[in-house]
């Protein structure tokens, strides 16, 4: 067992500092054909992409807002700015990034993490990437890690076109359609066959502009026998107007390939996080999701794994922390679509100060997926009497030859445990924070040490109740 890292005090301020807005270009509020065309022109889209955007807009207009989850009434699309270009060009050197933007990423520890523990970094500020760099030795292995815009027109343009929104089509749901229409920024990664990227790549998404949306697209293709760990971080300062995040992540895991996708999400509490993530895994391949959801006002987040080849495997390890004024609806979906596939889901959710945390999962085992195995375990912890926790697991098993297990536990923080820790000198707050961190250790154990520290810091911050 790994030694857990110590938690040191941090300040919510590092996430909350708002930069003065100096964006170079800001599209009008709302969503019309005119706006989408302007955006497409501004971004120099290839023709197919322009058409794709317009088609997505039509789909968006046809689809209804989902009615089965938390209310998103506070989100008025006519007031959301879909595109805010920061006043800079993308650079591969931090020294060329404007000071105010660079300082923001400095406070978030990104350049330092890059020096010490990452193979490549992409940093997005509002709608565009402002920094992108990958270590030389990783580049020499043939790994492509670039912003989506460059990928659209670069040497991998055909590959991008072939995969873009194929796993998450705009018809999937209203916000996938929205994404198709107004997406901007994000990363493209291609790992060639047999290449193992030893240290993780990271993209960090920062939304500074109030009332704006962030719609980054992440497309990762891990070819046969290759191996990658990708880390995604997100944050935003708090404003009094609604912000929207409707990103899309598409992951293609080849035969016998392995991808670990880790996220620590800490959006500010005015954010509607309507994000869609999906992975398709071929024969013998493996996807591992590690997901920490801490921020946002409302979240709908269910990373999905499609196990498409014999022996493919998915693991989902997640923790969700819903505090005051947060309604976080999170979970995962797994489709077993081939023989001998397996999936393991292990989630923890915490609710506090009236927060609502819902675990929602769907597992489908098709007729083709004989001898498949699925184990779902979800645990919820309520820190007080005014918070709420729900578990909504769905299973659709269409073969008799499957081994399926489900385990759910919902409980309140134990007074005896709090007293026990207090009797050793820990304050009530410290005792509860320690118990909650311990409860969430399924995720912190899976994260690289720096991120485990960040996650424990976030938990401590939430437990102290200093809600930003």
């Amino acid at each position: 067992m790994k030694e857990k890292t110590k938690v040191s005090d941090i300040d919510r301020n590092i996430y909350d500092i708002r930069d003065e807005e100096k964006d170079a270009y800001r599209i009008d509020e709302g969503l019309t054909k005119d706006i989408v065309e302007k955006l497409s022109k501004e971004k120099n889209d290839p023709d197919w992409m322009k058409e794709f955007r317009l088609k997505s807009l039509d789909i968006y207009n046809d689809l209804q807002v989902p009615e089965w989850g938390p209310s998103i009434e506070g989100l008025n699309m006519d007031e959301i700015v879909t595109y805010v270009r920061p006043n800079t060009k993308m650079s591969a050197k931090w020294s060329e990034v404007p000071d105010d933007i660079k300082n923001t990423f400095d406070r978030l520890g990104i350049p330092e993490a890059e020096r010490t523990s990452l193979a490549g970094v992409g940093a997005q500020y509002d709608s565009e990437l402002v920094y992108h760099n990958v270590r030389k030795e990783v580049e020499e292995q043939g790994v492509i890690y670039t912003d989506m815009e460059s990928a659209l027109t670069g040497p991998y343009a055909d590959m991008v076109k072939e995969h873009f929104m194929k796993l998450v089509p705009p018809t999937d749901h209203k916000f996938a359609a929205l994404h198709g229409a107004v997406w901007s920024g994000g990363s493209f990664v291609y790992v060639p066959p047999g290449v193992s990227v030893e240290i993780p790549l990271q993209s960090y998404f920062r939304l500074n502009a109030p009332g704006a949306g962030q719609f980054e697209h992440t497309l990762i293709i891990v070819d046969e026998g290759a191996d990658l760990h990708f880390i995604e971080g997100c944050s935003a300062p708090k404003y009094n107007v609604a912000n929207l995040h409707a990103g899309c992540v598409e992951l293609f895991v080849g035969k016998n390939a392995k991808l670990r996708y880790s996220t620590i999400e800490n959006w500010s509490k005015n954010m509607y996080n309507l994000n869609t993530k999906r992975a398709r895994v071929e024969e013998g391949g493996r996807i591992e999701w590690v997901s920490g959801s801490f921020g946002s006002h409302v979240s709908y987040l269910y990373p999905m794994s499609v196990l498409n080849g014999r022996g493919a495997r998915a693991e989902f390890t997640g923790v969700t922390f819903a505090g005051n004024d947060q309604n976080l609806d999170t979970g995962t979906k797994v489709i077993h679509n081939a023989e001998n596939t397996s999936s393991f889901v292990n989630t923890r959710s915490i609710s506090k100060d009236g927060g609502v945390s819902t675990f929602r999962s769907a597992v489908v085992i098709t007729e083709k997926a004989k001898n498949s195995k699925c184990a779902v375990s979800c645990e919820s912890l309520m820190v007080d009497n005014i918070s709420r926790s729900d578990t909504i697991p769905a299973m659709d098993i269409r073969t008799r030859y499957a081994d399926v297990g489900h385990e759910a536990k919902i409980g309140k923080i134990s007074d005896d445990a709090v007293f026990y820790l207090m009797s050793r000198g820990l304050s009530e707050e410290e005792a509860k924070a320690l118990i909650v961190s311990g409860f969430a250790d399924n995720v912190s154990k899976e994260l690289p040490v720096e991120y485990a520290v960040e996650m424990n810091n976030l938990i401590r911050l939430e437990m102290k109740g200093s809600i930003g």
Binding site: S414, D415, A417, Y420, M422, S423, S437, F439, D441
Partner: protein, 246 residues
């Protein structure tokens, strides 16, 4: 006259409006060892928990002071910082926090400063040696899946690390085999010798008392103090039981 450490005066304690203890008084001076005896359900554990400040137990009357300071209203962590310790009869399992992490956290909370890794490691390993505890327990989650004996040893390890002025041992010897009782006793003697501590021992057993010099014995039956005496009272009670008090 020895220095007064813990003073319990006319203490009555209720749980959910049911009175468990009524008008209990006792005083432990620095360096003394006291024993509390009584039949099951007499309220002995309640006394320990109330002195430590478990909020489930409401003090309806009386006063608890430590070194002359009234701590009746203080939260448990403040009592711990002032030098009180309770070894739990049933130590609580806390998943996700390793024993090592917990010990360090508790020490740092008490001392109010960071502890050097090397100092911590040396002291912990030394104390674990006294208790015959395998060091691998440091990396295990606090009390999770520990056997009864290991849980009690982990309590005594905390006692040795935290060095309180007064330790209340709530049946630290119960449910242990002969060898484990010996080991735990060794740990407790170590605490008395090295830390110059004081003890309030709740027990049904004499083995744990063999290596200790008992200054005073208190007998509680049905929530009331029915008899007090010196160390020789322990043997009398073991011979004749509590029937005459009931």
């Amino acid at each position: 006259m020895a220095d007064s450490l813990l003073k319990v005066e006319d203490l009555s304690v209720s749980v959910e409006d049911k009175e468990i203890l009524s008008s209990i008084s006792l005083e432990v001076n620095a360096g003394e060892t006291h024993v509390i005896m009584g039949p099951n359900g007499a309220g002995k554990s309640t006394l320990g928990l109330a002195i430590m400040g478990n909020p489930k137990y409401t003090v309806t009357k009386g006063k608890i002071s430590l070194e002359g300071e009234d701590i009746t209203e203080e939260p448990a962590n403040e009592r711990a910082k002032k030098g009180l310790f309770l070894s739990f009869q049933a130590p609580v399992e806390v998943p996700g926090i390793t024993l090592s992490e917990f010990l360090r956290n508790a020490l740092e909370q008490r001392g109010g400063k960071r502890i050097k890794f090397w100092d911590f490691k040396q002291e912990t390993e030394g104390n674990m040696g006294v208790l015959g505890m395998d060091e691998k327990y440091l990396q295990r989650d606090l009390n999770v899946g520990f056997s009864g004996g290991e849980k009690k040893k982990a309590e005594v390890l905390q006692l040795l690390m935290l060095k309180p002025k007064l330790a209340i041992l709530d049946e630290t010897d119960s449910g242990l085999d002969v060898d484990a009782v010996k080991t735990v006793s060794k740990g407790i003697s170590e605490y008395m010798d090295k830390c110059g501590g004081s003890l309030l021992i709740i027990t049904h057993n004499t083995r744990i008392l063999e290596s200790l010099n008992v200054d005073k014995t208190h007998v509680i039956v049905k929530g009331k103090m029915v008899e007090e005496g010196d160390g020789s009272l322990v043997k009398k009670i073991l011979d004749s039981g509590f029937a005459k008090y009931e």
